[in-house]
Structure formats: C-alpha cells, structure tokens
C-alpha cells in the first residue's frame, strides 16, 4: 500500500539515505580535487619531475593551444567515429554470425574449436597483417577494432541464444512456428539483454582496438596524438589525450547504459 502521509520514521529513513548519497558524491569530488591539487603542487615544487608526469596547469594550457590550432577537435572526432563504427559493426556482424551458428547446429559444431582459438588469440597481433591487407589508413584501424570485439560478441550472443527456455521454443512449435519464426518471436527478443550487454563490453574493447590501430598507422586521432606526443617528448600532450580519452569513453559507456536501461526493465 502507498501511504500518502509518510510516518516520521520513514522521513528519517529517507533523509538518512539522502545524507549518505550526498556524502558519497562529495567524497568523489574531493578525491579528484585533492589528486589534481597535489599533482600541481608537487610538480611546481619539483618533488616529482614535471617533465615526466606533466602538471595540470600545463595540460590546460596545451588544451587551449591545441584548440586554437584547431586540431584537437579533429583528432577527437576521428577517434570517436572509428570507435563507434568499430563497436557497432562488431556487434551487428557478431550477432549475424551468431544467428547463422544458431540456425545450423552442424556449422556451430564444426567451427567451435576455431572460435575457441580465435577467442584466445590476442587480436592485436593481427594488426600488422591487417595493415598489409587493407592498407595504411582508417579502414585498418576500424578492422582492428572490429576483430577485437567480433569473437567475444559471437560467443556471448550465442550463449544468450542457447539460454532460451526450451519450453518457450516448444510452445511456439506447437503453434506451428518454423525456425525463422522461432528466431524472430522467441530467441531474438529473449536475447536482446545479452546483445545490449555485449554492446557495453564492445565499447571498451573498441577503444583498445582503435588506439592500438592508431598507434600503428594513424596520421590523426587521439592515439596518434599520444604516440606523437611521446616521440617529441611532449608529455603534456600525451596526458591531455589520455584525459580526453577517458572522458569520452565514460560518456559513450553512459550512453550505452542509458540504452540498456531503456530496453531492459
């Protein structure tokens, strides 16, 4: 029952929870401030070497300098696009392959050991080969990002497919459903949570793929900035790129989480 006039105990309980939540947020912000402050101070006092660890004020200056030169947005944009294409195509192609494997138990059984091997293989090792195959540019980066997420997607989506309650499949069979109808009415909707949760994993994996890809071939992008900054001993630039990376990665993850909570009740 919903009580319209909450009791005194209930109000106290609510305010206790709220106080706790405020405290948690405060502590989180405080940690960030303390971390940045001690970084700045120790660097200024030369307790740590500002050349090696950079320092917040220099990172901010680099940020504005690069913004004025107009390259930073471009680099960020390039990396974002590569990542988004990487994880969306990884999820779609992986799901399609999982569907084929689900439709044919025979193909599934035949390919099983190959999937296991491919899953265990560090896909980054394929990087140099891929560059030879598709050329020294963006396609190579996207394909590296895709190969990293593809096998994981196939395996986890297929697990989701096989997780479907046998009785549900039996039920639609008594309705006369064929294999494609079973897929459409039972297996796919039932596995939607599994597919979306792979999307979440794939966001993270695609970032790894894209940055490594950019390390290997890029002429632009945040990964390129990191390598370039390292080569010219501009650690401010490297640190800035890493900070931008973590902020964007967090935002993307938050967007996928939003989608997840929208579709999964």
């Amino acid at each position: 029952m919903i009580n319209n006039t909450p009791s005194k105990e209930h109000l106290e309980y609510i305010s206790k929870i709220k106080r706790r939540n405020t405290l948690i947020t405060l502590c989180r912000i405080l940690i960030l401030i303390i971390f940045i402050a001690q970084w700045e101070i120790t660097a200024r006092l030369n307790i740590v070497d500002p050349f090696l660890v950079s320092q917040p004020s220099k990172i901010v200056t680099t940020f504005f300098k690069l913004m004025q030169e107009g390259h930073l947005l471009r680099h960020t944009y390039v990396t974002c696009i590569e990542t988004i294409i990487g994880f969306i195509s990884g999820t779609i192609i992986g799901t399609l392959i999982a569907i084929i494997l689900w439709l044919s138990d025979f193909i599934n059984k035949v390919l099983e050991p190959y999937l296991v091997v491919l899953n265990a293989l560090p896909k980054i090792a394929l990087g140099p080969i891929l560059i030879f195959w598709v050329g020294n540019g963006q396609p190579a980066i996207i394909i590296i990002a895709l190969t990293i997420s593809l096998i994981v997607t196939i395996i986890s989506v297929l697990t989701g497919f096989n997780d479907v309650d046998e009785d549900m499949i039996k039920l639609v069979k008594t309705f006369g459903a064929n294999k494609y109808q079973i897929l459409k009415y039972v297996v796919l909707p039932h596995s939607l949570p599994a597919i979306i949760s792979t999307l979440k994993i794939n966001v993270g994996l695609s970032w790894v793929g894209v940055i490594v890809g950019e390390f290997l071939v890029a002429k632009e992008g945040l990964g390129f900035l990191i390598v370039f900054g390292g080569q010219v001993a501009q650690l401010d630039m490297v640190m800035l790129s890493i900070i931008i990376l973590s902020i964007i990665a967090y935002i993307m993850y938050a967007i996928v989480s939003k989608i997840e909570s929208k579709y999964i009740k």
């Binding site: 309650d165 009785d167 549900m168 039996k170 039920l171 639609v172 069979k173 008594t174 309705f175 006369g176 459903a177 109808q181 009415y185 039972v186 909707p189 039932h190 939607l192 009740k265």
Partner: protein, 255 residues
Amino acid sequence: MGKLTLCNVSMTYHTLHTETKTLDDISIKVDEGEFVVLVGPSGCGKSTLLSIIAGLITPTSGSVYLDNKIISYPCNKIGYMFQKDTLFEWRSIYKNITLGLEIRRELTKDNIDFANNLIEKYGLSSFKNYYPSQLSGGMRQRVALIRTLVLNPEILLLDEPFSALDYHTRLLVSDEIYKIIKAEGKTTLMVTHDIAEAISLADRIIVLSSRPAKIKKEFNINLSIENRTPLTSRNAPEFKDYFNLIWKELDKYDK
C-alpha cells in the same frame, strides 16, 4: 473409436552409451469432451507422451489418431499447456494471447474478435496492456490457458499445469481452469503426479508404471456429488477411496 487415439505407441531414446525405453506399447482412447488424467511416478515418460501427441517428437513405433485419421503435423487442432506458464515477458498480455494467431498468420478480424471475447469472458480485459511480470502466478496460468484457447484447439494437452504454483493458488487455479475447459467443451488429456489433483479433475484416470511407462490400470471416476468442480470433488465420499486405490497402484510399481 474416440476423439484421440494412441495405438501401441513406444518410444526409445538413444545416446552413444545407451538406449532408454521410456514408453512401452501405450494405447489410449480419449472420447470427445472427456477429461483424462495420466498419473505416474516422476520421470516415467508422461511428458514424452504429450510431446508425441503434439508432434514435437516422433515415436519409435505406433501411431496417433485424431478423429480416426492418422494425425499429420503441424496439427492446429491441438493446444499444449506447460508446467511453467512460459509467457513472454517482453510482450503485453494481449500480445501474449494473440501470439499463436500471429505465428500462424491468422490475425483475421474474426479471430481477433474471438480472442477479445475470451479475454472479456474470463476476466482479463483490464490486464490486456499489462506485462506478465505484473501478474500473479495463478493469473499468469490463466493467461497461458486463454493463449491456448484462442487457437480454438479440439484437444488440450496439459503437462502438470499447476505444479509450479503454491498449494493454495493451485487449488484455486485448477478449479478455475477446469471450469473454463468445461465451459469451452474441450477434450483434455492431462499429466500429473499429484493423485488428489488427478481425482479432483478427471473423468478417467490412467495409471502408468515407472520407466518404461506401461499402462497399469484405468479408473473411471464417479463422484456422487452435484455440480462437480475440482474443489467440491475433494468433499465427495468416494474421494479417499479412489485416492487409496491409486496410491496402492503407484506404490507397487515404485519398488
């Protein structure tokens, strides 16, 4: 011959290591409008029998007749209800109920009207747009029955449809579902291992042995009670006699 007839049905499962005979020469006849209950120890192959009738598996030997003709699959005259309600959580109650029509591509105006009538008649109108997770266990099982009835089957197969419910709900839901089945005049074959439940519902009880299942005995259930329902049946004077008879039958073959 009856509405539904099983002739010498046997079933053997094969694995690499062994073969298991689950059904041994089962012959059953169910008359039009009759409520027949199969009782047997757990794992004796009762569900296998229903799956064979529904055409989900092919028996090793023997055949199934509907209206004196060998049944051909997929057969849209048979409705199947499971132990779990197997409602689709991502579909509304209405969408769950019309799932069979959608799959058979029979969403005609007549069929939709028929579905809406059943929904109305059995008190589900106000829940049409709810999702399964918002309903109680008993209510969900009622939705599952209506989902089956919407396809207007001539034979209903019930596979322990109440065993996932708690005892109290179970009595109420079996009462309710019995009344709906009788009102719709369906021929029913149910499987259970609950003797009391079987007596309270059945016109006739067939006792199966443990694996491989054979027919051991048949009991016609005649209760001296007016306006029989599963709940009132339990008060009939003959109830405990039948219980003891069937209990002894089952007890013998468990050893």
